[in-house]
Every structure is written in C-alpha cells, then in structure tokens.
C-alpha cells in the first residue's frame, strides 16, 4: 500500500475526531526524500526517517500546525531515493510539481544534500541540513542562500578529537604514540587529512598509519599491525561497518590503549547494544548533552513513538531541523517560503539540542564534536560551544 494512503487514513481519522471542535482545514503537505535502500539506507533509517515519523505524529496529535490562526494537520509524502542523487533530484521535483508539497525537508547525507541544493534553491524551500558535514559551508551558502548547516564542518569534527587527546596527554594521562587508520572514502579521507597535521602539530607521534577501502571485510591485519606498533591511542576515521569491525578486532586482539576512537556510528545505540560493557570508554564522532532535560525527554518520546532510540549525534539535529521549521511557520503565520527563510535567518530557536542561531553563512557554529560511552550512555565530551560536556575517561580494557 502507498505510504501516503496510510497517512491519509491516519490524517482523516484524526480529522474526524477533531471535526467536533472546528472545521478541518486542508492538511500541510510535507515532502520527504531519503534513502530507504542503497548504500546509506542503514544510516537514514536510524537517524532520518524515525524523526519525521515522531514529529508528524506529535504535530498531528496536538491538532496540527497553527498557520495564521488556522490549525492544519501535516501529511507526509515519503520517497526512497535509493541513495542515488539523480533520484533525489527527481523526487524533489515530483514533490513540488505533482504532489504540490507545501514544505520539502532536506534529504539525507552530505552528497545527497548537495545534489539537491540547486533544485531546492530554485523551488525556494529552506534546506536545513542535519546530516551534511562539509568544509564548504561558505561557498555553498553563497551559491544557495536557503541552505542551512546544523552538523558542522569536517575540520572541526576531526580537530575536536585531536584536542581531546592533546589535553589528556598534557595532563599526563596518555602518552604521545598514535595509531591512525581511515576508510578510503570521502568523509574518512577528509577527516584523516585534517587530523594528521593536527596530531603532528600537537606533538603526537604517529606510529602506525594506514587506510583501507570502503567495504573491507577483514580488518584483522590492520588491528594486528596497529597493536604491534604499541600505540597509546587508536584513532579510526571510520564508517558504520568498519566502526563495528575494528571494535570487534580490538576486542579479539585485546588492544591495550588508553584512548580508542572510531568515527561514524560509534554514537548509534546499536554500538552499545552489540558490545555491551566493552563499549565503555570508547570515543566517537558526535555527542549530545545527556544532562539536558530537553534531550532526555526527546529521547524517551523517540523511543516510545518509533520503538528505537535516537543516535547520539545527528538524530537530535534532525529533530531540531523540524523544530526550526515548525517554529518558523507558526511564528510567521504563513507557508510563504520567502518569509520563512527570512525568519530562519533572523531568529534563534530553542530545540532539543539547545539554542540554535545560524550565522551569516547559515551555519550553526555550536555543535558536538566528540562523545564517549560512559555508563551505558554516549555523552558529549567536546564541542564548539555547547554546554554540558563531561570529562573524558581512560579506556580500560575490553571486559
């Protein structure tokens, strides 16, 4: 069955309940395009889609969005772009011209968001990206003035990890021998390229360095070689499959390091579900403020509505992007996207990730860069200006 039909039925049902109070207005059509299949589907079903489901459910449960005094329900139309930029572009065009969408949400990932930028710009929709990490924010926002960036730059994400380790070393907690590996793919290469000179500038000695192709199954030789180099810290600029694979190998080899860092997917709830107590002390990219009541409340609602926990990096940002849209629409009382865009640029927003205020490059300058599994929770330990960071702890074995 069409997803849309199911949602329509749900909308119709809630509209009937609600019709007693007032005459139901037309729903607001919200278009969503992201991978359900293809290479990035594994990430988008954790980070992207559940938030849309949660948000639309919540908005409709409270009677819809208040647009200029009229309560209007939201109806979500979902398309799978199969992790293919040509499909993303086509689906967005289809949402705008065939489905007459009132709002189109930013798609998933760096590459697909950038591919969608010209068509979103032409259509005039605000494109509030929550899963795009790039160092080209200035150029992109100049060319596409309605593109916004929540997740931060790859340089800051990599340097965040370097700084955390430099501070630990300065305190005498760890030595200066680093083993660094990276997945040979876009984001992994970018992060490694930033980190290597930063580590060297900070006085670290890179005792082992290598890269492996995307999709490498056998990571055992890498971990064996890394162990033989006797590092004090192990850093992997990794993607989801290898984040899990390297951790597994580290456990098998009983890699004895004080800092163990893997990048993308370390912040996924599945990481601690798979490794249990062995995850304790593992550092990864991202982070959240686990002390924030707003975030804890969001995490609980996320789990109740979708049956799964949010991840501790981009999930909250994805939900924040929806909150920003919602607040802009209700405060400006219109669905005129030119007005909404101006509102987003001129105001700051209270979200589950804290206050968000875009700078002149449409960039959110305050975000988490490093987190760590502590006591079964992934907690933020470094950020570019967020409150609630906890102190890092030393990795102490794999039991």
């Amino acid at each position: 069955m069409k997803r849309r039909t199911a949602l329509k039925a749900a909308v119709a049902a809630s509209a009937i309940v609600w019709a007693g109070a007032a005459f139901a207005a037309d729903p607001i059509i919200v278009g969503a395009v992201a991978p359900k299949t293809g290479g990035l589907a594994g990430g988008s079903v954790v980070t992207h889609w559940p938030n849309i489901q949660l948000w639309a459910g919540e908005v409709n449960a409270r009677g819809g969005l208040n647009v200029g005094g009229e309560m209007r329900l939201v109806e979500v139309i979902e398309y799978d772009d199969q992790t293919n930029p040509a499909e993303t572009i086509k689906a967005i065009t289809r949402l705008a011209t065939q489905d007459n969408a009132d709002i189109i949400l930013a798609p998933y990932s760096t590459g697909l968001n950038i591919a969608a930028a010209p068509i979103m710009d032409k259509l005039g929709f605000p494109q509030i990206t929550s899963t795009a990490a790039t160092d080209q924010v200035g150029e992109l926002s100049k060319q596409f003035p309605n593109m916004y960036f929540l997740l931060g730059s790859s340089s800051a994400l990599a340097n965040g990890a370097v700084n955390v380790m430099a501070e630990m070393r300065d305190k005498g907690e760890i030595g200066s021998r680093i083993a660094m590996v990276n997945v040979a793919d876009a984001f992994g290469i970018e992060l490694a390229a930033v980190a290597k000179p930063s580590f060297e500038a900070a006085g670290f000695e890179i005792v082992y360095e290598t890269s492996y192709p995307l999709g490498t199954q056998d990571l055992s030789p890498i971990m064996k070689a890394a162990k033989a180099a006797e590092p004090d810290a192990f850093v992997a600029w990794s993607y989801p499959p290898d984040t899990f694979g390297l951790t597994e190998q580290a456990m098998i080899e009983d890699l004895n390091v004080k800092v163990f860092y893997t990048a993308v997917a370390t912040a996924f709830p599945a990481y601690s579900a798979v490794f249990g107590p062995a995850a304790e002390g593992v550092m990864g990219i991202g982070g959240v403020n686990n002390g924030s009541a707003d975030f804890l409340d969001y995490a609980a609602r996320h789990e109740a509505a979708t049956g799964q926990k949010p991840d501790y990096w981009a999930s909250g940002m994805m939900y924040a992007s929806l909150q920003i849209l919602e607040q802009s629409i209700e405060a400006s009382g219109t669905l005129d996207m030119a007005v909404i865009n101006q509102y987003i640029k001129d105001h700051s927003f209270e979200t589950v990730m804290g206050t968000i205020d875009f700078d002149e490059n449409n960039n959110n300058a305050s975000y988490w860069t490093v987190g760590q599994w502590q006591g079964g929770e992934f907690r933020g330990i470094a950020s570019t200006g967020r409150d609630g960071a906890v102190a890092p702890v030393l990795k102490n074995g794999w039991k």
Partner: protein, 310 residues
C-alpha cells in the same frame, strides 16, 4: 543514399527537434524525467552499437561514465566547462581502446566479468589517489540548469544516432555483424576481428564519458560511490535489452517505458521499489525475450503472412 535513408534521417531529426521543445513547457518534473530518459537513451543506444552486433555484453558503462564525471570534477576549476565533455570523450575513448586491446580477445563470460571489474578498479584508483593526497570533496558548482543538461544530452543523442546510422552502412558495421554471428568465420574471411572490435568498443566508451562529464554539474558533489555505481551498468543493459538491440531505435523504445515504469513504482511503493523492480525484470525477460523490437517484428511478420494468405 536511397529515398528511404533520407526519410529516416528526416524523421529522426524531426523527432529530436520535438524532444528539444520539452523545456519550453516549463514543467520541471517533465524536464527532470526528460534528463533521465535522455541520459539512459544515449547510454543504452551507444551500448547497443557495440554489444548489439557483437553479442559482447559490456558492463563497463559505469567505468567510463565515472571517468567522465571526474574529468569535469577535476577540470572545472582549470578549464572552461565547454572544453570538458569533449576532453572526457577523448579520455574515455583512449581508455576504451586500451581496455579493448587487452580484453576483447576474451570471450563470453570472461569479458562480462572483466568489464564489471573495470568500474570497480577505476573507482579504487580514484579513491587511492584521493586518499594519498588527503583529498577534500569534489564540488562542481556551475550555473548550468536542467534545461542546459537536457539539450546537451540531446545533442549527443543526435551524434550517436548519426554515428550508428553511418556504422550500420559501413564495412565496419558489416564486419561486426559477421563477428557476432561467428567469429571464426569472420577471421577466415580475412576480417581483422581484433581491430574491428576495438574500433567499435571506443564508441560507447567515449559516449559514456561525455555523458558523465555532462551529468557532473547535476550531481554537484562527486563521490566515487555515485560516479562509479555498478547499478548504472546494469540499468543500461536491461533498458537496451527491453527495447531490443537489433535496431538503432531499439534501445530508446526500452528506455522510455522503463523510466516511466520505474517512476510509477517508486511513486506508488516507496518502501518496496527494489523488490518490485526485480519482479519487473523477471517478467520482461520472460515475456519479451527479444525486447520490443522482437515483438514489433513478430507482429509485423504475422500481419505480412496474413496478407499473403488472403
């Protein structure tokens, strides 16, 4: 040239002319679909120029397409855009020539596997180079719109049809048809099979690289995983087969319904798209083994035989 040749040429030109009017409708959705149809149309038609007569199934489309996108991605800051698609064509053609020399003595399944591996190999080389240089994402920021890309692709389509038409009437085309029927016989007839095959393998290689170079401004952010996606090679083969490879107009007859079918499925069943597409492939192969061309010929032959008996 005969009157019939002239009629076909004029008809082809008129149809392309009509297709070129699409952007004037201003319907963004139709244009986005049009770009996809034009892209796959060009790729499938040029693929069939080589694979149709020789029966060598090439899965190398993604390799050449990817090379083309990277020509644009790495050249856009140095050269003007208009120089890039021709440059991509030259590089793609040279690459196809080298690959052809190395592999076209392979036959059957070995050739298929090699061409499939080629895209992966080039992708790994690109990745290795990026990794060695600490590469930052490749961005292609231009002012080109969907309309420009569409018209460029139609221009390439016109060239591919002309080339196909000319090859079909040349000694080379005749030689390839003989090779396709029986390579041994061909070589006994004195045909230099290797040279003929390599010469024609260069055409789809160069065309796919040109198309890749033209599509790069549409993707903006170029990654090895999207530039060298093996799905592209398979889609091109399936579309060409659905249409039929025996006629120059065959592949486009497959591309149009396939793209529309794809569209209907992805709109109606966003959660089961891949599954349903797989089922459609099976049905197509089962019900239309010779593609639409074969179906038309069957109907045509039946109509003729009916006339004969009346």
């Amino acid at each position: 040239m005969t009157t019939r040749d002239w009629k076909n040429l004029v008809l082809g030109a008129v149809l392309l002319g009509i297709a070129a009017l699409l952007p004037l409708t201003g319907d963004a959705y139709a244009i986005a679909l049009g770009v996809n149809i034009a892209m796959y149309g060009v790729l499938a038609t040029s693929w069939a120029l080589f694979s149709g007569p020789t029966h060598y199934i090439s899965l190398a489309t993604a390799a050449f397409f990817g090379v083309g996108t990277y020509v644009t991605a790495s050249g856009i800051d140095v050269l003007p855009y208009w120089a890039l698609p021709p440059l991509a064509g030259i590089i793609g053609g040279i690459l196809a020539g080298i690959v052809g020399l190395a592999t076209l003595r392979l036959s059957g399944v070995y050739f298929v596997i090699f061409t499939l591996g080629l895209a992966e190999m080039i992708r790994q080389i690109v990745t290795w180079r990026q990794n060695a240089t600490g590469h930052k994402g490749s961005y292609v920021l231009t002012d080109l719109t969907e309309n420009h890309i569409y018209w460029q692709l139609l221009g390439v389509a016109a060239l591919v049809y002309l080339a196909g038409w000319a090859i079909g009437r040349s000694r080379l085309g005749f030689a390839l048809r003989i090779i396709g029927d029986d390579e041994q016989v061909a070589s006994h007839l004195g045909i230099n099979t290797a040279v003929s095959k390599v010469a024609l393998f260069i055409v789809p290689g160069a065309v796919a690289a040109i198309v890749g170079a033209m599509i790069a401004p549409r993707y903006i952010y170029i990654e090895p995983s999207t530039a060298f996606t093996p799905m592209l090679s398979f889609q091109v083969v399936i579309m060409a087969m659905l249409g039929g490879t025996g006629r120059l107009w065959g592949p486009i007859v497959g591309v149009i319904p396939f793209t529309l079918l794809w569209e209907v499925i992805s709109v109606s069943f966003p959660n089961q798209t891949t599954l349903l597409l797989g089922l459609c492939f099976l049905l197509i192969v089962y019900l239309l083994p010779n593609g639409f061309v074969g179906l038309f010929q069957k109907i045509h032959a039946r109509a003729l035989s009916k006339e004969a008996y009346q």
